[in-house]
Subunit: 264 residues, 6 copies
């Protein structure tokens, strides 16, 4: 609806005969990892269900420039009218999968996993989280109701780590985990004494991260965040943290360039 | 709804007293241009209408790191619960405005304008187009029904520029403009002979763009596209084209980093 | 939903056996032009997808009293329950197509086209505009965002034709056309001097229309409006205007009387 | 949404200053009866809640050409942008009220009432039925679930009046009335012997209607339908039937012409 | 959506292979009457359309503990994920049908019918009324617009039975019935003198009910309400009232216990 | 909408003057615990925002027969029209709160908590879970995506407890807890050896429950389910389990009887 408006695709309707059959290829113009084929297919199903999309690179597949990722067959009008929406989904989600896969590759020599955050594009959280998984990443909370994550602002207002953790434990259902953000090793020490399921080690030095992992000693999941990118990720992962998390995977990844080659 | 789920913000509900009043500041962590204050305010209105957001940097305003862009006042719970959705909108749209403003600045010495395309994030087209305007850019078509834009695939299927333009003119309502994509000066020559409202000069060399502007001589709007970025934009604009268009403004701009400082 | 309410078609459910098969004919009771078969079919698809509607007079077809326009086959209950909604759509849209076709026929000896306006029934604009096309007419703007149409109230508030056109041109995207309403030849003269894409000649005498066409001399599209009906249309078209527009096509056309003949 | 599309009222936004205040009058251009003020007010509330609509001719009021029916005050942009949707509602519903009032006036010397049918514009049934009441008419069924109305097609399929009535009575809830369509006095005789709440006397001659009223003798409500218009209504009402019903009140009434006079 | 949330059935997705085929049986754990098979099937259709539900105990069928009521076949994941929603519908509606059937059975030796009220679970009225019919009951009003039911509060405010009935009759359409609640025989006497379609005899003694039935003598439908349960229903029905009504059928019936036996 | 239908409250509209002001009291007819005041207020806000509902017994308050729980003031029409929907919500949710409070009271001498399940009324899960909290209970999962709960069917298909737990752990995000249903002490032993966050002890004898609590020794949360009611709950709680869970709190609790006393 967003693309068709009230009058529909007036260019295609004017130029392309209604009964013309065509075939098309979605072709990667860049190296990357594919995600979003289901939504691309849905876009065509809504525009013209006679357009058949055959997937040649399923979600999660790495591609090189020139690789065909899907084949289209059906009315030329439907292919041309649905193209942009399909590619907007496919490019956006493949961009996220590609960014995730690049980090995942860079830390593959460690046991650390890359996870995304709640910094997602409004309206697209569920599919963006899916794209992260296609790229080999894992998901953090899907929303505010999934688990308790106590951040610096919460601690400050609650009056410290101890009262914060106490209230969290009193209110949490028996299937709800509690994670706590700590900025210093002193805070970590306090958190471990009180007991938590996971700790978010925010913006710590590599040395502090190493110490933190040693202090935790398996008693909680360790997650490092802050300034995660292709250059910094390997060293951070090598500190032994369980997870590294990065908001930009979902909010700032560039689209993967995919184009349509059509022939009637 | 996307962020609150069924059980709501269980962290804030557990830790923060219901009657605690707080004030907060949204602070830019990077230089950029603001867009999306209306949606940030809407996010809080939906979470808790008692949270008052006072804008200190209106949409379109350039900001420096450390600048407060909005002030929040109201129940601490509402501020903490609405924060992420508000910042997801504000960061995404300010990122687009910032990218647009950087290009607009780079070509400010010319009469050329920067315009966005239909390569937008699904579901957010209208607000992303608005963010482009906040950054000093102009908008291309909002959808397939706004105007006729004949691209290479259309020309190929229609059997050439002449039959394509002929059919377009026969079907176009009297208030519908026609733009044609041309890849070569020979195509441009043909298009001008037949008459069009605008020409999309795709991936031409600077020299060809200069020649094209001379050939058109004001008879049509000229739009250059392909490989537009901060480095290439000035020279392209100096060829004299009316418009340069770039999809990445809306599909690949990184978010503008904005954070919340809160005190209860 | 509007017709079935909560309890459904209690008459049919009480009287007609669930397994009774029937055939029906939609028969025109008046001469006219058909539009709305797609929505008639949709009405049955929503009520009972086993009812098969076979179109015998496609949209745009002229019919005479007694002509069968569609054949129905399926469960008698579904046919009887869906009848009214299907006929409400079919009658309403065929009424618009019929009114349009009558005007189109009356001006067929000229090069003038009949166009509809934004005076449509709330909620039905897109399908009413489609019905106008079925009757041989053309469409004006689908909404306020399609093109700039400067009317008398705009001119008055903007302070005259010159400032109105100037502001319009400054704000219009490169694919947006500008039409201006003029009530006098003096205004037309001013508009032509400033340049516009189209002029709306409102309520002018035949003589003034003829003069206007001469003055315009192909530099803009000419559209005559006001008091267009079967009697006045031929003479107005003979003045040489490109378009005549009439709101009553969509807001006041009487339904085309179509009935259901059923046999079980 | 239908009128604003994605880009909004680009004419008004370009030409009219955002802070310009204006007043306007909705003025009747024809004699008629008003209906739809609530929806007109809603249209402005959705476009710009600062536009205040003061009703000077409430729903149900008869008006003459030149009468102001409502006064508008607020931002000029909001008044101009909301005008068309407000008038589309007001004109459509006032047209129905006007048609109803003309029939109601023509039969005011009798005890007969005019009622509308289910032949309404899709999506607008509830408000069209309201407009009929504004014009002094009464409403028939709102939908298929309101009451049992056995028509000729039902009788034919059910195998006659007796089995039809029998099944209807067996299935009807204790608060559901039963009306039966009869085309002849013989059918009426049969219906009265079996007992019904109301009879629909379809397309009977005046003489048959008079006989029917005598036969019924108050044992059922009598409703005459078929070819009801301003010329035929008085004589039909004078036969003594309780109700006359006409589908065209809601499906074919012409809009009442109402215009906007604005001054800034 | 209510059950799947954002991340879906994470247990089943983790444990059950995507390609595992399974069969399951919905088995009654209690004696009762079935209702809601259509919604159970819909639940699976929404979760995974490949799951085929074959009904072995159609709506309205009495079942004993151990009876299979439906057979499921398809992907194990779909069966496990859709189970709870399907059973929530099936159990709730079968509970209502079972409660209704128990009362219907207890009064089967009389000519009295059991009817439900508007005291339904918000959002589920239409399907709960259907479940009552599956259990052998009849439906009262579906909503406030179905018929006029004048209750004690209406009478008190209207100033008595006479003005209440008078106003009701003046406003009621010709297909709208009127029922009146009476608490005493004196009120009943008054109501009968004025004429009503039905009387609601609220909380009367058995003796008063018997007298009321004699007084009414077929001139109105008689409905007894108040304290209807399995013990009281037979004696109340034996007073000769046409209907007995009970809100708890729809608002307080316990679910019928139905479980899933699955094998892969 | 469900209650008003298309024509609205025709009884109240006919009988009660539009300008009549009234006051009303919602009065408990039974002892219980209140829940649902917010939805009761919403019902009136949707029907007529001028009706003011003043809460005298907030959600979670125990009430006795005769206690006023809310006071209504405003147009008599609005009070009468909104009454049923408001009471349907209030009665349903208070019924759940009352049932929960009765169990919570019966086990108050222990450290055990009562929790609800996913066996809720379709469409009302979130508010029913809230009602449980009003009654002093706690909530289990809100949906299938909240946590991993491995039931007997999952174990059977996965091939045993060990592979089931292994797969669960491999797929679970770092903030997702895992609960396992065990029917025997042998299964419990196996589960504890492998490690789980919680165990669901289904239908165990009191003796087995006691042994299970000893075996677990604080290493996991213990939840007992099956045949929980007012009689069995105390003894089950006294075994030392952390939680007892019961589906009937949400799917089979009878409404709390609350009535409206109105005076105009």
């Amino acid at each position: 609806m967003e693309d068709l408006g009230r009058a529909g695709d007036i260019t295609t309707d004017a130029l392309i005969p209604a009964d013309l059959h065509a075939t098309g290829l979605f072709v990667a113009r860049q190296p990357g990892t594919i995600a979003g084929m289901g939504l691309a297919r849905l876009a065509f199903a809504l525009v013209d269900p006679r357009v058949v999309l055959t997937i040649t690179a399923a979600d999660g597949t790495p591609v090189r420039p020139g690789d065909a990722v899907a084949r289209l067959e059906g009315p030329a009008r439907g292919i041309l009218t649905g193209e942009r929406v399909a590619l907007n989904f496919l490019g956006h989600l493949s961009g996220i999968a590609t960014a995730t896969a690049s980090i995942a590759g860079a830390i593959a020599h460690t046991r650390t996993h890359i996870v995304c955050t709640r910094k997602t594009t409004p309206g697209l959280r569920v599919v963006e989280k899916y794209a992260v998984r296609c790229g080999g990443g894992m998901n953090h909370r899907f929303g505010l109701d999934d688990a308790i994550l106590i951040k610096d602002n919460h601690i400050a207002i609650a009056g410290g780590i101890a009262p914060a953790l106490e209230r969290a434990r009193a209110h949490a259902g028996h299937l709800v985990k509690i994670e706590l953000e700590v900025d210093t090793l002193a805070q970590l020490d306090q958190a471990l004494a009180l007991g938590v399921d996971a700790v978010l080690l925010d913006n710590m030095t590599l040395e502090d991260l190493r110490t933190a992992v040693t202090m935790v000693a398996g008693r909680a999941v360790t997650e490092a965040s802050g300034r995660i990118n292709l250059e910094t990720a390997p060293a951070i992962a090598e500190t032994g943290v369980d997870l590294i998390s990065a908001g930009w995977l979902t909010h700032s990844a560039a689209v993967l360039d995919i184009g349509l080659d059509i022939s009637a």
